[in-house]
């Protein structure tokens, strides 16, 4: 039993020369963007996550009516969160009411039915409620991601680019924000802002969670601004703006995107946790966390009221995490392609043919 991995020489190691040849051939004549795209699409889990997340977003956004100012785009689902249809009690298990009609069994009952996710206590369609909640959570996730992303990048790049006093002051600001316990202050604001609405809450949370990103961007800038290409650009007469946006930021963009996806995955959990505690989105508005908190006690009798919101939270967060992982691999210049069995076979054949 070899506890520490196999050190028998594998074909891949013997063919190390062939390995780098494969890697070089792979990026020949491609732009940075193309390389990243190719690498990302090779990450199977990330691609699946991207497809799933886009479908969830598309599904959730079209299912209910959308109001933009006076405009009203109708959704394709028959109920809204305000409708209170009669409670269904036919064929429900154990004398419960409002059980889900979603059926994946082939046959006459296959399909969504009238209430695919069931109904809540008073008969509201749970599918509409969950969709509305998912829409809220997605909106909050993107708002937090963009607010935290822009503040973090701005503060981090200014601190890293100018250094010295500017850096010291901005980093103390970061320390300052970090000492404020997010959950406490968010709860205080959430309690006061329950009446103001979820958008305000998201903006506020975005103002609190950018500190890690700022540190990361600063560190990137500190090392990148010492590089020769920055000196060259300066000698050529480029302005600070141009150096920042054209020379340094493109080199740091990979790490920034990955950090933002992590912030977004954390944001959806933070929002649902706050709503669960009663300090985030409050009724009559709907959020996934709020739905779970409301129906956690009915888990034993009507489990569907508990499963569906949780399922959506996990799917969204999981997809965002996997996309972030795929991007990390895609942007990582040290990342080499994993040698698969097929590659080894090909290389072996090549060598044989050469003999």
């Amino acid at each position: 039993m070899n506890l520490f991995g196999h050190r028998e020489k594998s074909t891949g190691e013997i063919l190390a020369g062939g390995e780098s040849a494969i890697a070089n051939k792979e990026v020949e004549g491609l732009s940075q963007g193309q390389i990243v795209r190719h690498r990302f699409f090779r990450h199977r889990a990330a691609v699946i996550a991207l497809v799933v997340l886009s479908s969830i977003i598309l599904f959730v956004m079209t299912v209910l009516d959308t109001k933009i100012g006076p405009l009203r785009i109708p959704g394709w689902w028959k109920w809204t969160t305000e409708d209170i249809p009669a409670l269904r009690y036919k064929d429900c298990p154990g004398g419960t009411t409002g059980c889900p009609t979603l059926s994946l069994k082939l046959g006459s009952s296959f399909g969504l039915g009238t209430h695919p996710f069931g109904q809540d206590d008073i008969g509201r369609d749970y599918f509409a409620l969950v969709m509305n909640g998912a829409r809220r959570s997605l909106m909050i996730m993107f708002v937090i991601g963009s607010v935290a992303g822009s503040i973090g990048v701005a503060v981090g790049s200014i601190a890293g680019f100018y250094g010295k006093k500017v850096d010291a002051v901005l980093m103390r600001l970061v320390d300052f924000i970090q000492t404020v316990p997010v959950i406490i202050i968010a709860a205080v604001i959430g309690k006061a802002a329950g009446r103001v609405g979820p958008l305000f809450l998201a903006l506020f949370l975005g103002i609190l969670v950018w500190t890690g990103l700022a540190r990361l961007v600063r560190a990137q800038f500190l090392s990148l601004r010492e590089m020769e290409f920055v000196d060259a650009a300066r000698v050529a007469g480029a302005s600070n703006m141009r150096i920042t946006f054209k020379h340094i930021l493109p080199n740091a963009i990979g790490q920034i995107i990955v950090a933002v996806t992590l912030i977004m995955a954390g944001a959806i959990l933070l929002e649902t946790a706050l709503s669960y505690l009663g300090f985030g989105v409050v009724a009559p508005d709907v959020s996934l966390g709020l739905l779970i908190s409301e129906y956690q006690s009915s888990f034993t009798t009507r489990p569907w009221l508990f499963w569906w919101p949780g399922f959506f939270i996990i799917s969204i967060a999981l997809c965002v995490n996997f996309i972030g992982d795929g991007l990390r691999d895609a942007f990582d210049p040290h990342q080499r392609r994993r040698i698969t069995k097929k590659d080894r076979l090909k290389a072996k054949l090549l060598i044989k043919a050469g003999d």
Binding site: L3, F4, R172, D175, Q178, I184, I185, V188, I292, L318
Partner: protein, 512 residues
């Protein structure tokens, strides 16, 4: 170094002042503490308003009232801290002093357990990069990252407490579940060991059969009603631990270390019955502490007995083996009080609680039953916290170890002919621990504020519950007490992380 620490603390105090000022005013303007009384039609409401206004100095505007609060806090320099009163008239310090140990108990147990498991899984995952096990762990880590803790908590309550208690009333493992558990165990162990297809299947078959036999034996003997390990099983486990620890710590070819470890494992059998007598008659934390000291002493003597040179690693191996064997005996003793605990009136054959940190109705002077109660209440919240923080440890460990394994000194170590065990445990593992050690501090601090939700779901009266209560009742002094403690922890945690890092890594010097 000292001037660096002093400067850092100075800056931190300024920052803490600013952040507490901000939180105080935000919280003060966010809600009116007298709101519910103003709306009340009760006759005494007016008097209550007057009393509260006087006690909490609500007539002073918040920015100025903050300095009154600060004055009380600065009393720390003359040994008389006063963090004000809660709405009910209790002192904030007293409330905090009650809540802090509760939260710490929860967080420390969870962090340490998560760290141990996360390290092990992360290391194996990195050593078998791109294997089935590695992919499995990556997926597990992402899944755990995406789980909302309150959702997990409800599931745990249902399946680990309510359903398990139901199961205990009519204990019988159905054949279907035995099969599923065994397949799961087989897949886990076979992917852990990796290798070609033939080895995969042989490990799978072995693990599957072992799992099945164990489950069957448990079911036949109704072990879960009257659990325990017994001297024979303890000895076998201790010998297994001795072999495993020796192979990791010094390598099995080191004869003195092997003999010392096996001797310590053998002593577990010799000590089993005397230990029972001691535990039954003198059950207390002091006894446990003294027995650990005795084990360490014996292990040192053992190391001295078996070798005249290079005693350090041998003593290390013997001590770890001895402590693990001792723990087995202790676990056995705790298990023995399971039946007695279940039979008490307070528990009434439903031993896994879903709520609270103690059973108040439990009246017993027995040390072991009391501890059983503590442990049973810890299980669910700790498990939830472990699930949440495990993901981070797996990912960090994996990343850190992979990075270290790519370094030139690892290649050098291999090139000069060191065996793989030495390369991993001495060259890679130690360097990997550098970044992780500073993370550990941050993780504990993060978990303390993250425990808010866990405490709430499981009804623990810790800091989180206190904070939520303060926000809901607009209890400003209480909120500031919790807030102060959390922010001081963050500041100290950051400082400590930097210091630990510079103390361990000679390449880093703290100068600014």
């Amino acid at each position: 170094m000292l001037s660096y620490i002093a400067r850092r603390i100075g800056v931190s105090i300024v920052i803490l002042f600013g952040s507490s000022f901000l939180v105080y005013n935000l919280a003060a303007y966010a809600g009116d503490p007298l709101q519910d009384l103003r709306l009340s039609t009760d006759d005494t409401a007016r008097q209550q308003i007057i009393a509260l206004t006087r006690d909490l100095q609500l007539d002073v505007p918040p920015p100025i009232r903050y300095f009154l609060w600060l004055k009380g806090l600065l009393g720390v320099f003359v040994g008389k801290v006063n963090l004000g009163m809660t709405r009910e008239g209790a002192s904030v310090q007293a409330e905090l002093a009650y809540a802090i140990p509760v939260t710490l108990r929860l967080v420390l147990v969870a962090t340490i357990t998560a760290l141990l498991f996360g390290l092990a899984l992360g290391i194996i995952s990195a050593l078998r990069q791109y294997s089935r096990f590695d992919y499995g762990m990556t997926f597990l880590a992402f899944l755990l990252y995406s789980l909302p803790i309150f959702w997990v908590a409800v599931l745990l309550k249902e399946f680990m407490a309510i359903q398990f208690n139901n199961f205990l009333s009519e204990p019988n493992i159905p054949l279907k579940w035995m099969f599923i558990f065994s397949v799961f165990g087989g897949v886990f162990w076979s992917s852990l060991f990796g290798g070609e297809r033939k080895r995969f299947w042989s490990v799978f078959t072995g693990a599957f059969a072992t799992n099945f036999v164990i489950l069957w034996a448990i079911d036949l003997t109704d072990w879960y009603l009257n659990p325990g390990l017994g001297p024979i099983l303890i000895t076998l486990l201790a010998i297994g631990a001795a072999v495993g620890i020796t192979s990791l710590s010094t390598g099995l070819s080191n004869a003195p270390a092997r003999s010392a470890a096996l001797t310590m494992a053998g002593l577990a059998l010799v000590w089993y019955y005397p230990a029972q007598w001691i535990f039954n008659n003198f059950g207390s934390y002091l006894t446990i502490f003294l027995m650990i000291a005795l084990i360490v002493g014996t292990a040192l003597a053992c190391a001295a007995l078996y070798s005249k040179i290079d005693r350090g690693p041998i003593a290390r191996t013997a001590i770890i083996t001895g402590v693990v064997s001792g723990l087995l005996i202790l676990i056995d003793r705790i298990m023995q009080s399971w039946a007695a605990y279940s039979e008490t009136d307070a528990v009434n054959y439903r031993p896994v609680p879903t709520y609270g940190q103690r059973k108040d109705q439990l009246v017993t002077g027995d040390f072991w039953i009391n501890n059983m109660d503590l442990i049973m209440h810890l299980i669910l919240p700790t498990f939830a916290l472990i699930l949440i923080s495990l993901a981070g440890w797996i990912r960090f460990t994996r990343g850190a170890l992979l990075e270290v394994l790519n370094q030139d000194y690892i290649r050098t170590a291999r090139a000069k002919g060191l065996n793989e065990r030495t390369v991993i445990t001495r060259h890679a593992f130690r360097n990997m621990m550098l970044p992780l050690s500073s993370l550990f501090v941050g993780e504990i601090v993060g978990l303390i504020s993250g425990a808010v939700i866990t405490e709430r779901v499981f009804g623990w009266q810790g800091m989180g519950t206190l904070g939520i209560k303060a926000i809901n009742t607009y209890d400003l002094n209480l909120l500031m007490g919790v807030n102060l403690l959390l922010s001081v922890l963050v500041v100290l945690g950051n400082l400590l992380a930097d210091l630990v890092y510079s103390a361990l890594d000679p390449r880093i010097r703290l100068r600014k």
